[in-house]
């Protein structure tokens, strides 16, 4: 197959149950270009790229490579054309090891003893890009960030000329993002094409040569990044001005809500994922946990919310012990939880929107009487969430699987936040959200804080942490390296702390 010089998508349209996800999209990319694809949730970015990758067939329109009409019927054909994709939701087999996953998608995998030949290449790659992945680990044992690295290796190993990245940076550390960008640059220099899906304006401006803005399935703007700026891009993207400043007033913190007393938790790998962590959380406070994905954040959140057992230490809420209580008992003490992998944990896909809107709340008095559920109340509640959180759907009586990822996310957030929890445990709450929804959510977290709730915020987005949090803990390898006030001068060293090379003995 000849190298891709140009790739064109002409008049591509695709609809799902009568709603256009893409309408008459024209997109042309040339060798040596990095093109950003920008748009809010449900704008049709992922759909368009899935068409290019052969996962969906367009209803109409044509794809051309090097001025020749082609058809891409499935991902295998797409790989043979030189197109690779790193998905937002990872397409890995959870029970297989890293190397098995890579061998599975690799063109040159020999029939016999595939691992031996692949191992060498994987290790080379790991070393070259500092991926630091044990090829024999099972995928389910890896953090989101590590899984993505596996996906990237897979695509690169197949020697794709055109690589599609669906929000690749959301789970990477600042350092890793830098490395990724330098890979992008190298590839660009060697004539590769990169299509970069994101709604982070900074990254688009930083990385891309050209940016194409999608809104409701249509292209609403296309420009070279050097001719534009963040503000005007944001305006094109959401069709209105967005303020980038949240005004956060200092509030004196109230009484103690949560106390975590030297807890240790086992991870999926059977090793300590959370090691002897202690902290306290107060009313009117947002407590941020900053750190690179896979350093114990998920386990800590799961331990507090009762999903994962704690083998030593104690957790108390309002003075009463909730260590190793059931998730429901813990929820009933006023702890809400926005989980990290929302699609996996947060919804029952085949049930209706309104069923999903009370997943954790259905047993509460206001939604159930004895054994029965009050469906009229539940439906009203769902309508409220949809309105408040701007979930776009044509009906609450449709199955939630029909919604786009971003909209599912908004519904879950709405569900967990609207109950006015005493403590909200939020893992990467803005991951995958568009600018408008992100701002809305951050304001909502601040208003929770104002109303006297405590928020435990896990995020890899340092900007978000700095913007929202009153105190910030830095987690590395299951331990807190420091707990800092938001005006602590040591904050400038948060990078080395996240990398584990610096530790404050304050606590």
């Amino acid at each position: 197959m000849k190298k891709i010089q140009t790739l064109e998508m002409k008049k591509i349209s695709k609809s799902f149950h009568g709603i256009f996800a893409n309408k008459d999209i024209d997109l042309k990319v040339e060798s040596g270009e990095i093109v950003g694809l920008l748009g809010e949730n449900g704008a049709g970015k992922t759909t368009l790229m899935n068409i290019l990758y052969g996962l969906y067939q367009p209803d109409s329109g044509q794809i051309r490579i090097n001025n020749q009409d082609i058809r891409i019927n499935n991902p295998v054909e797409s790989i043979n054309f030189g197109i690779g994709m790193v998905h937002q939701h990872f397409m890995l087999i959870q029970n297989h090891s890293v190397i098995e996953n890579i061998a599975l998608g690799y063109k040159e995998t020999p029939f016999f003893f595939p691992k031996i030949k692949i191992r060498e290449k994987v290790e080379q790659f790991s070393e070259k890009f500092n991926f630091n992945i044990d090829p024999d680990k099972k995928v389910w044992q890896l953090s989101a960030g590590e899984q993505q690295r596996v996906e990237i290796i897979k695509a690169l190993l197949n020697g794709a000329d055109l690589l599609i990245f669906d929000e690749p940076t959301s789970v990477l550390t600042p350092e890793e993002i830098k490395e990724l960008i330098s890979i992008f640059r190298q590839m660009k220099a060697s004539g590769h094409i990169i299509i970069f899906i994101s709604h982070k304006l900074d990254e688009i401006m930083d990385i891309c040569d050209r940016v194409v803005v999608l809104q409701k399935g249509k292209i609403v703007g296309s420009t070279d990044t050097k001719d534009t700026d963040k503000k005007s891009l944001a305006r094109i993207m959401v069709g209105r001005d967005i303020s980038f400043n949240i005004d956060k007033k200092k509030i004196a913190r109230g009484r103690k809500i949560l106390s975590v007393d030297s807890i240790s938790v086992m991870g999926d790998k059977g090793l300590d994922a959370v090691k002897n962590i202690s902290f306290e959380l107060f009313e009117n406070e947002i407590f941020g946990v900053a750190g690179v994905s896979g350093n114990g954040q998920r386990e800590l959140a799961e331990a507090i919310t009762g999903i994962r057992p704690i083998y030593s230490g104690k957790i108390k809420i309002n003075g009463s012990d909730i260590t190793n209580k059931s998730p429901r008992d813990i929820y009933d003490t006023g702890i809400s939880h926005v989980p990290e992998e929302r699609i996996k944990f947060g919804i029952a896909p085949g049930l209706f929107l309104y069923d999903n809107a009370v997943l954790k709340q259905h047993h509460l008095k206001k939604f159930s009487r004895r054994w029965f559920l009050k469906y009229s109340k539940i439906k009203n509640h769902t309508e409220d969430i949809i309105k408040d959180f701007n979930v776009s759907t044509h009906s609450i009586n449709s199955q939630i699987r029909n919604l786009s990822g971003g909209n599912i996310q908004k519904l879950i957030l709405g569900r967990e936040i609207s109950e006015q929890p005493q403590l909200l445990v939020a893992s990467h709450p803005t991951y995958g959200l568009d600018v408008g929804a992100t701002q809305f959510l951050r304001r909502h977290l601040l208003s929770l804080r104002k109303q006297g709730s405590a928020v435990l915020l896990f995020s890899e987005d340092l900007e978000e942490i700095f913007e929202l949090c009153d105190r910030i803990a830095v987690i590395f390898d299951g331990e807190f390296m420091a707990i800092l006030d938001s005006d602590d001068k040591n904050l400038s060293e948060i990078g080395p702390m996240m990398a584990g090379s610096k530790r404050l003995k304050k606590q």
């Binding site: 149950h17 998730p327 429901r328 996996k344 944990f345 919804i347 997943l359 954790k360 029965f372 449709s398």
Partner: protein, 357 residues
């Protein structure tokens, strides 16, 4: 070359769902017709014989209703288990265990108690027996991650052998004159029938009530909600704080318990004593799997699909006699129907397109 494309279908309307079922049944009939042709029988005649044998005469309707009773009960119970993606294929064993418990209760307490006490008591005993046999695989699955398909299937054989052991051994009755089987239940424990038929009406009414109640439970209650969540996404169930052990035990207690009730009906309504497993139940536990599937896992629809499949069983008997076809014919008919129903489900959930290349 022609390529086949499948995409998810989102707008599944009740009408479309209903029509898919009808078309699946029609397609199955075509295949069944071919099988009839191969055995040298006019398929139109054979199929019309099946339905006239079951629904075309007063006698046929009575027999159909008789056989519908266990199918409705078990089918309704299975919809609950299948909804939670608990693949209970052990209803046959649960039915037999219900029959064993009911027989023991009837034989031991029937003489001394009046009907209005002993009848509810044997139903309770039957439910308990079926539930007990159903709970075992639930515990095995949740506590030890043992696949329920294997465990429920195997427990069928274990229960059948326990039953055989009882009737040739300790429970062997004098009234049977040396043949295996227990004594007849005392009169007070025997269910009334509609005169001139074998319809034990108490169980018939019970089966419809059970289906209605279960329908309310599935769609209106917290437990039903939790069942559906667990079936759709167990991870979400865990996150939502649903107690898997408790939920699974209740689901299988109900599913097995309903099969146990069917066992009571067969013993106290029809046979009046406990005989060989194959005579207690002619595979109702397996046929009910198709009943549940045709009902689209809605307990209420299991009433209709239960009667439909009872009709096929009765009609199958009719053509065995009138056309001289082997006994396996009905099972082939049933199996073919199930396969087509499952395929229909696929076509309901996916859009299929053919494209020229």
């Amino acid at each position: 070359m022609i390529k086949i494309k499948t995409t998810d279908r989102y707008n599944i309307t009740p009408l479309r769902s209903f029509m898919t079922n009808i078309l699946s049944l029609a397609a199955a009939l075509v295949v069944i017709s071919i099988l009839f042709l191969i055995s040298g029988v006019n398929p139109i005649f054979a199929i019309s014989e099946i339905f006239s044998g079951s629904f075309g005469s007063f006698y046929g309707i009575k027999e159909t209703l008789t056989k519908a009773i266990p199918l409705i009960l078990i089918g309704a119970g299975l919809t609950l288990a299948f909804r939670a993606k608990f693949w209970n294929i052990g209803a046959e064993g649960q039915l037999l265990m219900g029959a064993i418990f009911a027989t023991w209760t009837g034989l031991n307490f029937g003489e001394s108690l009046p009907p209005y006490i002993i009848v509810p008591l044997i139903f309770l005993a039957g439910f308990t027996g079926g539930a007990f046999w159903g709970i075992i695989p639930a515990i095995l699955k949740i506590k030890f991650s043992i696949n329920e398909v294997i465990s429920t299937l195997m427990l069928n054989y274990i229960c059948a052998e326990i039953l055989t052991m009882l009737i040739v051994g300790p429970w062997k009755g004098k009234e049977r004159f040396g043949f295996p089987g227990t004594n007849n239940l005392p009169d007070s424990a025997i269910l009334g029938i509609i005169p001139g038929s074998r319809i034990h009406y108490a169980t018939l009414i019970l089966s419809i009530l059970c289906a209605i109640v279960l329908c309310v439970v599935v769609y209106k209650t917290r437990f039903g909600y939790e069942t559906r969540v667990v079936g759709e996404n167990p991870h979400a169930g865990k996150y939502a704080g649903i107690n898997f052990l408790k939920t699974s035990i209740i689901i299988m207690a109900v599913s097995g318990g309903f099969a146990g009730l069917a066992g009571v009906g067969e013993i106290a309504g029809i046979h009046h004593y406990l005989g060989y497993p194959a005579s207690v139940s002619s595979g109702y536990g397996f046929t009910a799997i198709i009943v549940a599937w045709l009902a689209k896992l809605n307990p209420l629809y299991a009433v209709i699909s239960g009667i439909f499949f009872a009709g096929i069983l009765v009609g199958g008997d009719a053509i065995q006699i009138s056309l001289g076809l082997p006994a396996a014919t009905v099972q082939i008919v049933n199996g073919t129907l199930l396969i087509f129903l499952i395929m229909g489900d696929y076509f309901l959930k996916n859009k299929i397109r053919f494209e020229m290349q």
